[in-house]
């Protein structure tokens, strides 16, 4: 049953709002609040001229980014009324763009600007410290610097957050913050932090362990992959360090995180400029801004934030209990209340040098408790459960709010269990069943982690036991000119808002994507001589390996009495081989091929031809051979890339146009146990394939590669159609991240013993 979605607002024109006039400069227009502001200005304030400050992003100029907004959902209602072209025309006529970047390169303001709506802010609550400061503090300084230079001395409406008052309890009044943090010093240190972190990340103490970890994880994929992973890890380290630095610095001064900390300092910058240069300043501090109640249409929101993912996760039945007090207040406010209030604030500038403050929230006059919110959400999901991917619908759990500590313990235990499973499973062989479990365990861990982060974040805001007094906003609401939209939060019906507006909006996307997954259609190979299909051998085309082949050659060649000795010697050498294998696949191949020293080449060839060929075919994957032949039939070049010697792949020769293999060195008809050229393993395969593509005129982007092991990832990454065949755990993970195709082959493959018996029952044995 599909839940009723909010009805679209009727296509009728809104009457123009009274009050605001002149020329407005809007910052942060591409953000959530900024878009809402722009829409209001365009739709409800026809007398206002708007300039949008935006930075260039890649090839898109500020003007392009502004024009792109016409397609956004925020203009849906307007589009329904005047069409897409109408929205474009309105934007072109009423709005222009100013290219600039707060925090690094602020242009002078147009001389006619009378009001600045400063909505720009960091998007994340957990940004690196330098980024948070650059946007929230340096950005403010740049903006006010430009404001002071502007001939009209425009009124600045500075959008901050209610949570700048830190962990204050009780009623927070609408006035300037009391703290003595020195924003200049903090800014200086924050901007310098990146340089310092970059420096430190390059020291042996940091780089050493990172490189070691990268080697352990990616060593098999080759040195380039290891280097790339190490560099990724170093960047990650820098990022983490900056994030941690920001959070800790904020917390050490009494804020919840770097976001509220820098927002508070941003206010301080504004106040200084206001007082010293006589700027008219109004600070608007919303609480948690959520989907619109009415405008631009009920349920409008830009992207998931704060509460939304938790609501969704709850709807999916993934949060059994919640770490909050039932009676704590969740101070959320629909975005249209914030825009209306901010625009009313903009229309009523305070005297120069005397900043005014406005809290836009619901906590003080229409508080929504955690328990009440849960009741509405739970009612919504009970009436309109989310579909459960082909298994009916999800049943949502009832929350009893047993207290944060207990939930915390449960969460921790869950995390530990998931982590344990996640670590233990990959130690098992990578069969399809185990891989599936690993996948699920990893998804569980990932989900637990995401949830944990969300809950922590939400806890920081939802758990604040402060009430934000909103007397100034109420006064403004009462004094608003006739015809202006109201913004009195006391009128919000939470039951209606949560269950009829908010929940349908945030679950709409989830409902669309939760349909049962369809199977991938059987793919048809495109025709083309410029396409190559590159196959790894062991594990991809064959279930066997070097060691097995060696055992066969011994079973074929040697007298029976020698078997025991051979097997014993092989067993004794295993630890050495394992070590070589761990070090480098090439080392292992080299070491192992030594065993053939002294064999007659002719005899070995005969053995491969007469019996080992059949043993190999016994251990081949019929699916692989079918696929190779399908590539052939499509005109592709089929290529075999293997670490083993060419002599052993002769039986498969007719399947391939090209075979990249090493060669055993022969002196006087006898194998020396050394190789003529290095084995084609790991990254050498990618290099080989690249060169092959160049010389053979192959288009790698249209080509295919098949491999089973993480060491093939460089080769697989090279082509447009990589396929992981019976992948090991690491390749499987790698493939999943990149949405590579994964195939299970080997339905009709013979067993080891059968293959060995085949090898043994050769002509030599019959003549024995």
């Amino acid at each position: 049953m599909a839940p009723p979605l909010p009805p679209p607002a009727g296509p009728r024109a809104e009457p123009p709002a009274a009050g605001l006039g002149g020329h407005v400069l809007l910052t942060g227009a591409t953000g959530f609040l900024g878009q809402a502001m722009l829409e209001r200005l365009v739709v409800a304030h026809p007398g206002v001229r708007v300039t949008v400050l935006a930075r260039r992003r890649g090839a898109a100029s500020a003007a392009d980014r502004l024009a792109a907004l016409a397609r956004k959902p925020v203009f849906r209602t307007l589009r329904e009324r005047v069409g897409y072209a109408g929205v474009q025309a309105a934007l072109a006529e009423r709005v222009d763009s100013l290219e600039g970047d707060l925090g690094s390169g602020m242009p002078p303001l147009p001389g006619t600007v009378t009001t600045v709506l400063h909505c720009a802010s960091t998007v994340s609550f957990d940004p690196p410290v330098d980024e948070a400061f650059r946007i929230n503090v340096q950005g403010a300084r740049d903006l006010y610097g430009a404001v002071v230079e502007s001939p009209n001395r425009p009124h600045v409406v500075h959008v901050s957050t209610a949570y700048v008052s830190a962990l204050h309890r009780g009623v927070v009044a609408e006035r300037g913050l009391e703290h003595d943090a020195d924003w200049r010093a903090e800014l200086r240190h924050a901007l310098a932090a990146r340089e310092e972190a970059e420096q430190r990340s390059r020291t042996p103490e940091v780089l050493g362990p990172l490189l070691e970890a990268a080697r352990a994880e990616h060593g098999k994929a080759g040195s380039t992959a290891t280097a790339a992973a190490a560099e990724r890890a170093r960047r990650g380290w820098v990022q983490d360090r900056l994030v941690t630095a920001g959070r800790l610095r904020g917390q050490s001064l009494g804020w919840t995180d770097v976001y509220t900390f820098t927002k508070a300092l941003g206010e301080r910058v504004a106040e200084e400029y206001a007082r010293e240069a006589g700027v008219r300043l109004s600070v608007v501090r919303p609480t948690i801004v959520q989907a619109a109640l009415e405008r631009p249409y009920p349920g409008w929101f830009e992207s998931y934030k704060m509460m939304d993912p938790i609501t969704l996760a709850y709807g999916r039945g993934e949060i059994p209990e919640f770490p909050a007090h039932a009676e704590s207040v969740v101070d959320i406010v629909p975005v249209d209340f914030v825009t209306s209030a901010a625009l009313a604030v903009a229309a009523a500038p305070p005297p120069p040098g005397e900043p005014a403050y406005f809290h836009v929230g619901t906590g003080s006059r229409n508080p929504l408790t955690q328990a009440e919110l849960h009741r509405h959400v739970s009612r919504y999901f009970t009436e309109h459960p989310l579909p459960d991917a082909g298994r009916g619908h999800v049943k949502v759990p009832p929350w009893r709010f047993p207290g944060a500590a207990r939930v915390e313990r449960t969460l921790k235990a869950g995390e530990r269990a998931a982590g344990l499973v996640d670590r233990a499973l990959p130690l098992l062989p990578a069969t399809a069943g185990i891989r599936d479990r690993v996948d699920r365990a990893r998804a569980d861990t990932q989900r637990t982690r995401t949830l944990r982060r969300l809950l922590d974040l939400y806890g920081g805001y939802g758990g604040v036991e402060a009430v934000y007094g909103d007397g100034n906003v109420v006064a403004l609401h009462r004094a608003r000119p006739a015809g202006s939209p109201g913004f009195d939060v006391a009128g919000i019906s939470w039951a209606h808002y949560v269950a009829d507006v908010y929940c349908p909006a945030v679950t709409a996307v989830a409902r669309r994507t939760a349909a049962p997954r369809r199977k991938r259609a059987a793919d048809v190979l495109p025709q083309g001589r410029d396409i190559a299909a590159v196959f790894d051998l062991e594990g991809t085309v064959l279930a066997s390996n070097l060691v097995e082949v060696f055992v066969w050659t011994r079973l074929v060649g040697g007298p029976r009495s020698s078997w025991a000795g051979e097997i014993a010697s092989l067993a004794l050498a295993v630890p050495g081989y394992l070590q070589a294998e761990r070090r480098d696949r090439g080392d292992f191949v080299r070491a192992f091929m030594r065993r053939y020293a002294g064999c007659s080449e002719a005899e070995l060839r005969a053995a491969v031809r007469d019996r080992i060929g059949d043993a190999l075919l016994h251990r081949s994957f019929p699916e692989a051979i079918r696929r190779i032949r399908a590539h052939r039939a499509a005109g592709h070049r089929t290529v075999l890339v293997t670490g083993t010697a060419d002599l052993f792949v002769q039986p498969l020769g007719p399947l391939f146009d090209e075979i990249a293999a090493t060669r055993l060195q022969v002196r006087g008809g006898v194998l020396t146990g050394r190789l003529e050229r290095p084995p084609v393993v790991g990254e050498a395969r990618a290099a080989w394939a690249r060169r092959y593509a160049e010389t053979a005129g192959v288009d790698l982007k249209r080509s295919y590669a098949y491999g089973d092991s993480f060491s093939d990832s460089a080769l697989l990454g090279l082509v447009g159609n990589p396929v992981a065949v019976n992948p090991d755990h690491r390749l499987h993970r790698h493939a999943a991240r990149r949405a590579w195709r994964v195939e299970e082959w080997g339905a009709h493959t013979g067993g080891r013993i059968d293959a060995a018996l085949t090898a043994m029952s050769g002509p030599a044995e019959a003549l024995r």
Partner: protein, 525 residues
């Protein structure tokens, strides 16, 4: 002389009857009134087989005695049936070994030194060295292998020769060495009416170019049955080809027939009528059931594959193929022919573990189909035991198993052709050429031990007549997914199968169980 074959009508006193089901067997109670076809008792074997062979070689039918055909400097090619005969494999020494040894002795005595031995494997897989050794015996193997004892290679263009064309335009192309020999001695073991005679050289040494004239859907649909040569379009084609061959190369054929002792004495109950089982038979059946069920799958297969039959030889005849074969057929009929009055609505067959193409291998689902709807369904003269539009019920577990070396094209046929169509005529039209000329299959056929690429299609055609004749096919105890890929329904018990058959043949159908082992050729009156 033993008892003749007879048809039992199941009544209250009838015990549960033995039904083969792949690598197992069960005792099944059939509904009252079910008719059960039993072949004649196993005929006594010839005591002095060596003497009988000698007698046959020296007193052939329609041909001079063998020694008179041998002279120094001649090219002699001895061709023998491959591993697809007899089934199950014969206990050593193989009959072919006994015959070949005598032929070689005579050749040596006559001073013939250009002697070549060839397995007549047509498009079957090459026999392995061990299998060749088992067939021709150690002495011959050591003297001739690998230089002068080999498999026929139907894809070795250089070693094939087109002998001529029949009046129907059928190309006769066979092994060059054999065609250019002064004498071919063909050593045969005939198990059922379809083997031997004109088939031996014309099919056993042929190439795909030649085989496609009779191994096709049309011919097989008009071979009713292919175990009754006079009524078999397939055999008419063989005869025409043999006539062409006769004008080019002299063939001296040695045919032998076996009796019904197809299982070793440990499972002697297999060769007996159930109500005659002694307490020892009962006990050995129980022990067999238990052991068979307990054994791991691989070991079980080994046990079955290694149960070599203690066949007795019921006749050896030599001479000109056309003159020899009637004697051979008479011997086959003596052992297998059982008269039965009229057809029934439902035919029941228990399929054994072995067919001509899974000796030392795996019986894959396509082979199960060809064994049931091909070989067993066609064990009739005059009319099938089931009426047109009736129901065939077969017993086989039909696991989705393939031998990766022996049956590679079967795997692809199963996965990519049968998933699209099961219609033999459509398959022939759309896919035969592709499978027959595929270079990889050809490579595997020639260098490994794979059946020819086209072989799975032939197996499918083998059942074409039954597919056309039967209104429904139900497999008891088969894997559901596999059977459905083949287009068949499955039932877990005979009761369920009969219940399902009602839809096609009504509520009180007549039922005939074609009992085996041993093999019976139903002469439906």
């Amino acid at each position: 002389m033993g008892r003749p074959g007879f048809v039992l009508e199941v009544d209250e006193r009838t015990p549960a009857l033995l039904v083969n089901e792949g690598e197992a067997a069960r005792l099944e109670r059939f509904p009252l009134g079910t008719r059960v076809i039993y072949p004649p008792d196993s005929l006594p074997g010839i005591r002095d087989v060596g003497g009988a062979i000698r007698q046959a070689l020296l007193h052939p039918h329609g041909e001079d005695p063998l020694p008179a055909l041998l002279r120094p400097g001649m090219r002699l090619t001895i061709v023998f049936d491959d591993i697809s005969l007899p089934l199950p494999q014969m206990r050593a020494p193989d009959m072919r070994q006994r015959i070949i040894e005598q032929v070689l002795e005579m050749a040596a005595a006559a001073g013939v030194d250009d002697v070549e031995l060839l397995a007549a494997n047509a498009l079957h897989r090459r026999m392995t060295a061990a299998e060749l050794k088992r067939t021709v015996g150690d002495r011959v193997f050591r003297s001739f292998f690998p230089g002068h004892l080999n498999n026929h290679d139907a894809e070795d263009r250089a070693n094939l020769t087109e002998v001529g064309t029949t009046r129907h335009g059928e190309v006769v192309e066979i092994n060059r060495r054999a065609a250019e020999s002064d004498l071919i001695v063909y050593v045969n073991i005939t198990l059922t009416g379809m083997s031997g005679g004109a088939k031996s050289v014309a099919v056993g040494l042929a190439s795909y170019r030649s085989l496609r004239h009779h191994h096709n859907v049309h011919t097989l649909r008009h071979s009713r049955s292919f175990n009754d040569p006079p009524q078999s379009a397939m055999h008419h084609s063989y005869d025409r080809m043999a006539a062409v061959l006769a004008g080019h190369v002299r063939v001296f054929t040695v045919e032998s027939t076996v009796n019904g002792d197809s299982y070793p004495p440990q499972v002697g109950f297999m060769n007996k009528r159930e109500w005659e089982w002694s307490p020892a038979d009962q006990a050995s059946y129980l022990a067999f059931r238990k052991l068979n069920a307990m054994a791991p799958a691989k070991m079980r297969r080994q046990m079955w594959q290694r149960s070599h039959a203690p066949y007795g030889i019921t006749g050896v005849h030599a001479g000109a193929p056309a003159e020899v074969h009637p004697h051979t057929l008479a011997n086959v009929h003596r052992q297998q022919l059982t008269e039965i009055d009229g057809q029934s609505d439902i035919g029941v067959w228990g399929l054994p573990f072995i067919c001509p193409y899974n000796v030392n291998s795996i019986m894959n689902p396509i082979l199960v189909m060809s064994l049931g709807l091909g070989y067993f369904f066609n064990l009739y003269r005059n009319k099938p035991i089931v009426r047109q539009g009736g129901v065939g019920i077969f017993y086989h577990p039909m696991p989705e198993e393939f031998h990766p070396v022996h049956h590679p094209s079967y795997i692809d046929f199963y996965e990519s052709v049968l998933s699209r169509t099961k219609d033999p005529a459509l398959i022939e039209e759309k896919y035969e050429e592709q499978f027959a000329t595929d270079p990889w299959y050809t490579h595997l056929y020639r260098t490994s031990h794979a059946y020819h690429g086209v072989h799975p299609l032939y197996m499918w055609y083998w059942g074409a007549h039954a597919l056309q004749h039967l209104g429904d096919v139900i497999f008891v105890g088969a894997e559901r997914g596999t059977a459905s890929r083949l287009g068949f329904r499955t039932a877990s018990t005979l009761g369920d199968a009969l219940e399902m058959a009602r839809e096609t043949v009504g509520s009180s159908p007549s039922i005939t169980y074609h009992h085996s082992p041993p093999l019976a050729l139903a002469d439906v009156r």
